[in-house]
């Protein structure tokens, strides 16, 4: 229970003034620009866009600056801003087959058409601190090679041609939207994917890891991981046709998982899918694993009672803004609540004491 109380305005104003000063830090150190954050902390910016569910690198960088680097606070700012925007419409589904890949690797086929393109990855670094970065910002020239003109087809399409992979059912052109209608269960796959792509990276990672450790194990191979830019196209009512309205960088992960089959159906591999704003590889792989675990019902698997199979558990706890909102509210004044608890415990103790005395 909450009771309107007055007071504290002065303290709040002063706290905010101090917050602003602490955010700026020592003025002898140059202030951080939004452009610097966007350019040099790009993966933090990507995470804020993905979980803030709004693709706008400048806004995400501003939010990170305002939040003093607290990414969940930054995501909160982006979510709040997002609600103020009028919705112009929905895009056509992006064509990730046409992605201009900065990175594209497959753990299943060494010689896939298009090849293994590593891109600007942390993989194969030794995870040793680089003290040169503390000294200067110089970088050597990046090697270049002749551009590949051959298309980079999805690796799943080869398995699909042989009918070795379960086919993906089609759905309505306008999918359900959990930002417009509260999430209700059971959720279809479109809703689950929306909840997962904007879910907390740490939570989705933990859930995905649990499936690898044996909770609803479904043995995932990363058939393909691709990162790059795709055009976004939308129908424009005043024109009567679709145009490209921009370009977004996405990370896509497709997993090929343990096969299933029956007396009537020959065995086929199954699949999980991750698609996330920005260069967000860990999140996209995690999303694909959790997506696959949540598909147990439609794939006719047993419910093993694993957390990652429990759609209510996963979807209702994946959103870090909902979670932090409810979690952090308990530090706000609950004076009246607690007063009544205090009254109650005193009364119970009095009664217990009275009974004890009467018994003696």
């Amino acid at each position: 229970m909450y009771v309107a109380v007055k007071g504290g305005e002065k303290a709040i104003d002063n706290a905010h003034a101090w917050l602003a000063e602490e955010r700026r830090g020592d003025t002898a150190v140059a202030a951080l620009s939004v452009a610097q954050i966007r350019q040099q902390l790009a993966l933090a910016v990507n995470r804020v866009m993905a979980e803030g569910s709004l693709y706008d690198p400048d806004l995400a960088a501003l939010a990170i600056k305002q939040a003093r680097g607290d990414l969940i606070e930054a995501i909160f700012l982006i979510r709040a801003y997002r609600t103020t925007l009028p919705r112009f419409g929905g895009s056509a589904p992006v064509d990730t087959d046409a992605m201009v890949c900065d990175r594209r690797v497959s753990a299943t086929f060494k010689d896939a058409p298009g090849g293994q393109v590593l891109g600007p990855t942390f993989d194969y670094t030794h995870r040793l601190l680089d003290f040169k970065l503390a000294a200067d910002g110089e970088v050597p020239a990046v090697p270049q090679a002749p551009i590949q003109t051959a298309p980079t087809p999805h690796i799943m399409s080869f398995l699909d041609r042989e009918d070795l992979i379960q086919s993906e059912p089609v759905g309505p052109e306008t999918p359900p939207d959990l930002t417009r209608t509260p999430l209700e269960l059971p959720a279809d796959r479109a809703l689950r994917l929306q909840a997962l792509t904007r879910g907390d990276e740490g939570f989705i990672l933990g859930m995905a890891y649990s499936t690898q450790r044996g909770y609803a194990r479904n043995h995932a191979f990363v058939a393909e991981l691709r990162i790059g830019a795709v055009a976004v196209e939308m129908d424009i009512p005043e024109l009567g046709f679709a145009i490209e309205i921009g370009e977004v960088t996405l990370t896509e992960c497709e997993t090929v998982n343990q096969f299933q089959g029956s007396k009537t159906q020959p065995p086929q591999f199954t699949r999980g899918y991750g698609l996330v704003f920005g260069m967000t590889e860990r999140k996209a792989i995690s999303m694909a694993l959790v997506d696959r675990a949540l598909r147990w019902k439609e794939l006719g698997e047993d419910n093993l009672g694993a957390p990652a199979q429990d759609e209510e558990f996963v979807l209702y706890h994946a959103d870090n803004i909902q979670a932090t909102g409810f979690l952090e509210h308990i530090k706000l004044p609950h004076y009246v609540d607690f007063q009544s608890e205090l009254e109650l415990i005193r009364k119970l103790r009095r009664e217990a004491q009275t009974m004890q005395e009467a018994a003696q």
């Binding site: 693709y55 992006v94 990730t96 590949q148 479109a190 809703l191 055009a231 976004v232 424009i236 370009e247």
Partner: protein, 151 residues
Amino acid sequence: MNMMIDPNTDRKAWMGLLAKACAADLARYWERFGAMPDHVLLRAPEIGGVMVRGRAGAVGAAFNLGEMTVTRCSVKLADGAVGHAYVQGRDKDKALQAALIDALMQTAAAPQIEARILAPLRDTIAAVKATRAAKAAATKVEFFTMMRGED
């Protein structure tokens, strides 16, 4: 496959280019072009969001991925040509310039606009993309097959 030629191909191409162009580049070329045609605003520049969608498994049912910021604007020139713009980001000047260019591209000024604004924008974007693609190509793995023991 429908073999009919889409009458809107050219307009789609320039509108898409303007949507993706860097606002600072567009502003620079627009300023250098130097003409502010007489126009009325049919829709003043307005910032909003578009829900970007993907497909489950890249080929299946559509799902909502998240929104992106978009600014739109519509103008009408003195000669009656109507221009529209839907451009990425939150730059109202960019949206206005893009709408004016869309309108001007329907007038006799089209070759001028094409040469002095659209072509340089297209070249800039192509150069950036080519550099990224060349860097990516340099990270392509060349496998060496090791000698096998059984031969």
